[in-house]
């Protein structure tokens, strides 16, 4: 079956290949939709034990770690808008990742934020966050950044200033640790000034990472804290106004007219603050900025 048979087959292949590949791509797209709700994460976590997986990966730990890290990021990206209770799988994913590669510091940092953060943004499990970062510190004792992240969880999510201060202190003793840690140790021990302290923490997080998601989260927190800070100041000015004029300002314009403010203050999104009938400053209703709600700030 030479020339004619062969030519016919080659032509058949040339014609069939693109058709089949297009059909395959279409099928694949449909299959992908299917398996998104197909507990795909479950199938990867069949071997939940990081140690077992480490043995199974036959030495290609780092590669496997990268793969799991990618999945964690992907998974997290897919889940955070879906509010699935399966957010609980973030911890196992990060646990496996860090078992496979204990030096993947970004994984610990990621977990510190998103395991602790309440739903819908995170898993709402600061205890798991603490556990993960402690694991990271054990494997990377000279990584001062992890101390900072651990202290952040204590301070921000668990409202545990003594542990936060102790952690900052321990971190400040690491060679080459910046002064920031020592300063923070002092700040979190004080009461008052929580907003500034929190702003410092989140700014440090923002500048210390290249991970886009973490930066995004830090930005939002900083915006919210800035707004809370602005509200504090505006509330004081509002009280001043009340003392002078016997009523609360209706808007920032009143404060400008009374020369208490040089101009109309805007929130980090550029929208002007509004005042309630009780004289308390509030974010503009149409502002996308969200003020975080840890207990320590509630007294603002």
């Amino acid at each position: 079956m030479n020339s004619s048979g062969h030519k016919r087959l080659v032509w058949a292949f040339i014609v069939a290949a693109p058709v089949i590949f297009v059909a395959l791509a279409a099928l694949q797209a449909r299959i992908d939709e299917h398996t998104r709700s197909f507990a795909r994460s479950k199938e990867e976590l069949v071997l939940r034990s990081g140690a077992a997986l480490k043995k199974a990966s036959l030495g290609y730990d780092a590669l496997m770690a990268d793969i799991y890290w990618t999945r964690a990021v992907q998974y997290f990206g897919a889940r955070s808008t879906k509010r699935d209770e399966q957010m609980g799988l973030l911890d196992p994913l990060l646990d496996i990742t860090t078992t496979l590669d204990p030096r993947l510091v970004v994984a610990y940092r990621f977990g510190a934020i998103f395991l602790s953060e309440p739903a819908p943004i995170g898993a709402g499990r600061p205890d798991l966050g603490v556990k993960l970062v402690k694991k990271g510190i054990a494997a990377n004792p000279n990584e001062w950044q992890l101390y900072s992240d651990l202290a952040f969880i204590y301070y921000w999510h668990l409202d545990d200033s003594p542990n936060a201060a102790a952690t900052y202190l321990a971190g400040s003793k690491i060679p080459n640790a910046p002064e920031y840690l020592g300063i923070m140790a002092a700040r979190v021990s004080q009461s008052g000034g929580e907003i500034e302290t929190s702003l410092m923490i989140w700014r440090q997080i923002y500048h210390s990472t290249k991970n886009a998601r973490m930066q995004q989260e830090a930005e939002q927190q900083i915006a919210g804290l800035t707004a809370a800070h602005d509200e504090q100041i505006l509330n004081k000015l509002s009280d001043d106004y009340h003392r002078r004029f016997g009523r609360y300002p209706a808007s920032s314009q009143d404060l400008v007219d009374a020369r208490i403010l040089p101009g109309i203050p805007a929130d980090p999104a550029g929208l002007p603050y509004v005042f309630g009938s009780d004289g308390k400053a509030k974010l503009n209703p149409s502002s996308p900025v969200v003020i975080p709600a840890p207990k320590k700030l509630l007294g603002r």
Binding site: A17, I20, V73
Partner: protein, 274 residues
């Protein structure tokens, strides 16, 4: 001896389907006689060991372990068989020259290829069926009962077979022109790529580099996506699998296998045998 000089031209031609079947049955017979099916003994030992061990420990997840282990073993054993026999399907016949007398008969080369493929596939199906029985037995031993959700196990096994069908086709294709060692490398390479192609695509997207994104996307849609066929965890947890997905995966495998066999036929039809 009678003169039967005219008998040859008056014979009814054997229909083409039959030729592939003849070759397929013989290929199956070869696998059996090569004691390939003895791997079932190892599988049985593994399952028995696991069942006993898990039964002793009684940690509440016996079903999970047996199903995970059993399906993984079925997949691995099947893969090994598909690859190692697959890459020799055509190569061996050329090397040993058994192909010479075969092609001197009224056999198209493509019929030969289809027959070899079908024969190995048949071997794999039989092998897998026995393994599934072993798995069922082990499951019965540890769990004492079957649940309705165990149907997913059947589906998972079916998906494994689809996966094996694809791997076998790849092995056969390479066998048409390449030595067993190279063919194994190529086939394994494509298989591993196919398992991780979703990650590769994700890497490409994360890189924010449009060229990388495009390349990884092309790879994703070009390479057979073997991860589609992995339903082991679903079987372990008893998640139901929709019929639509079963059809989709079947269609995917069928289309891809057809393409590979077509390519193999095209390549082989022109090959000068040593």
């Amino acid at each position: 001896m009678s003169t039967t000089a005219v008998a040859a031209s008056s014979m009814a031609p054997a229909p083409p389907r039959a030729v592939s079947t003849i070759v397929a049955v013989n290929t199956f017979r070869e696998a059996v006689r090569d004691r390939v099916l003895y791997n079932l003994i190892f599988f049985a030992l593994v399952m028995i060991g696991a069942a006993i061990l898990v039964g002793q420990i009684s940690i509440g997840i016996e079903r999970l372990v047996i199903v995970n282990l059993g399906l993984s073993a079925i997949s691995i054993f099947g893969l090994i068989m598909a690859i190692f026999i697959g890459v020799g399907l055509v190569y061996k016949e050329i090397e040993r020259r058994t192909l010479y007398t075969l092609l001197a008969k009224p056999v198209h080369r493509w019929e030969f290829l289809v027959g070899k493929y079908a024969g190995l596939l048949l071997t794999l199906v039989v092998n897998t069926a026995f393994m599934m029985l072993g798995l069922a037995a082990a499951l019965w031993y540890v769990a004492g009962t079957f649940q309705r959700s165990d149907v997913t196990i059947l589906v998972a096994v079916y998906f494994i077979l689809l996966e094996l069908a694809l791997v076998t086709a790849l092995g056969l294709f390479f066998s048409c022109f390449s030595s067993p060692m190279l063919s194994t490398l190529f086939t394994l390479g494509i298989y591993v790529t196919g398992i991780f192609c979703a990650e590769i695509k994700a890497f490409g997207e994360l890189s924010k580099n449009p060229a990388m994104e495009a390349v990884t996307k092309v790879i994703y849609y070009l390479v057979p996506n073997f991860h589609n066929f992995n339903a082991i965890a679903a079987a372990a947890y008893g998640d139901p699998i929709s019929l639509t997905l079963v059809w989709q995966n079947t269609a995917y495998a069928a289309l891809y296998v057809t393409l590979i066999l077509l390519a193999a036929a095209a390549v082989f039809s022109n090959r000068n045998l040593k």
